[in-house]
Structures are given as structure tokens and as C-alpha cells.
Amino acid sequence: MKSRFQFALVLLLTCNSIAWAQDQLPDGVWHCLLISSRGVTEQTTLVRFTTNKPVAMATPSEESIPLWRELSMARYDGHSVFFRDPGTDQRFEGVFDGESITGLWRNDHSVGEWWCAPVDAPGMQVVRPRPSEKKRYPFPHPMRLATPRYPSQAVRAGLEGRVVACFKVDSSGKLFEPQILEATNPIFREPTLIALEQSDFRSWPNGQGQPPRPACRTYTFQLEPDY
């Protein structure tokens, strides 16, 4: 009985140690590119992964030693890595393919991409990472443009905002799978989705059998004073 217990304990420890080995990202510093959901802004940053220590982030600088800021501990499941920046509330999730990390970051309002490549030397000889080439499609031509209704509640409260929505357009010009990527205030979500439902695009020639094209639309809700 005792030996069976010992065997189980050994097996458990062995399993744990195997899992431990798989649960680690290689220690090191990575040069990362953080891209906003609209692709308008991008930010370069250094990210450091160290075993049993929180992830750290710093702004790259050629002249001074980077000032590291501690984030959360990283969780790595052997495929994806997860961590959070408590300062910006960005939640990072990325896939480590053995050479680079690619993934998405999210906070309550927006979502974007991040991409990291390892920094070779401690002297920070940074090679600027290049996100893999994305497949670019010709942008679908809008045919019917529905304008969202400005919520009267938002007008009364003097609320302005912005919504970024992405969707796909099939070869007949029909819009489908709309998804809100960013909404500065939830009050603008519903009118945006309704407007998208009422919008469509021109069908493209010889489009039969072609894959749907992705597209995004940003609605900026503004209030102009009438004096």
C-alpha cells in the first residue's frame, strides 16, 4: 500500500515536472510592436520574460538603460502566452511559434495586435520586427450606406464617441459577421450594428466562388453646438 502511494507520488511529481518544463517560455527580452485596432498607431516596446518573475515592459532606448515596468505573471500553456498590463489594462494573448510571438491585446474598449521577435544581445541591438505580410484585398465599394441613429440619450447627456466595426463582405456585396472591435461607449453599439445591417456593397465582377473580403468601418459620433 505504502509503495503504491510512493509510486503515485513519484508519478505525480514526474508529471508536474514535465508540465513545468512545458509551461515556460524561453527567458529573454523581446522586441515587440503593438498595433492599434485601426492600424493607425503602433508602438514599439521591449518585453522581458523571466522564469517565475512577472513579465516586464520597457520603452526601447538606444541611449539609456531601459526602465522596466512590471506587468502580471505570464501564463503559458505550451502554445499561447497570456499576461496583463495593470497600468493600461491591456490583456495580451499571443501564440509562440518557436521564433516569434503573435497575438491580440484587448482592453474594455479596444483590441489590437502585437508581434514580438527576440532581441539578440543584451546591448539591445534591436531588429525592428515586421509583421507578416497580410493578404490585402481590394476594398469593397459601398452601395447602400445607412447612417446610425445618434441615441437621443447620448445627445441629452452630451456624449460623443467612436465605434470601430469590422465585417466581411461576400461576392454579392452582402455584409455579414459584423463585430464591434472598439466602442468608446456601449450606447453607440446598437445603432452601429443596426446601420451595418442596413448597409451593403457592390458585388464584384467574377466574384462567384471567391472568398469574402474583410473590411472595417469607423463611425465617429460628434455633437456640434448650435449657438
Binding site: A157, P214, R217
Partner: protein, 157 residues
Amino acid sequence: MGLWCAAGYADTADNRTVVGVDPDLSNGALAIRMGSYEEGIRLTERGLKGAHSKRDRAAGLSNLCAAYVGLEQPDPAIELCSQSLAINSNNWRTYSNRAAAFTIKGLYSEALFDLDAAAAINPGARNLEVLRQILNERRLRPKIIMEDHQPTGLFSE
């Protein structure tokens, strides 16, 4: 438009409605609160003739202003509120009443100015919040700008 007419027989910077010694002013304030504006004006004007204290006079004029706002007559309302504020410039209800009168007249920047003045004296007043909503509804023109763009890859295949 009746939302901003609860001027009461109001005193200065707090939320209290002070019932004055003059029964005409008190009854006039109550009549205005009940929406009987003409009756409120009649009683308040009669009460003002016997009002000797500055405080009573300022409150009576403010109430008259509220009554004219209720009757949607912004010009006499603005004049009366301004007279009241010349006596007592610390009555948030008077600023609120004049803001309402300016709103009726379409003078939105003046209304906003008075509304801010009232809010500075009594920031938590519900009346002011409602009036600001009405003012926003009238003075702000909604505009929606649309921009199509390629996904950055996040949504691409």
C-alpha cells in the same frame, strides 16, 4: 416646459424653500409650483408690494421669473430674473430659471452660462441636470462621420 418652474419661495444658495412671512408671496410660490402661473403671478406681485426685505424681494422676483418661464414668455422672465440676481446673485434657482428662459428664446450660450453658474452654487441639483439635458437636446447637433478602412490583419484571413 414645467420642469424648471419649481422656483419656490427660495432662499439663496441652498435647497431649502423658505416660506416667508408674507402670505401672498408664500401662496404665490405655492401656486407657481402647482402650475397655476397666472394666479401665482397675481399673488406674488401683490406680495412684492409689501415686501420690504431684500431677501423677500429677490425671492419674489425669482418666482415671478419662474412663472413667466412656465407661461413660455421668456422676455419678462429674463428681465425679472436679472432684477432678482441684481439683489441676490447667489440663488441657483434664479440662474436656473433664467437659463430656462434663455433656452426658450434659443439663446443657448447664455443659457449654458447661467446653468453653469447655478451648478457652481448647487452642483447636485436634479433640476439642473434635467435642464442641461433639455439644453443639450436643443443646442447640440448630432453628426456622424463614417470612414471605411482595411483591417490591419486582425480581421483579415
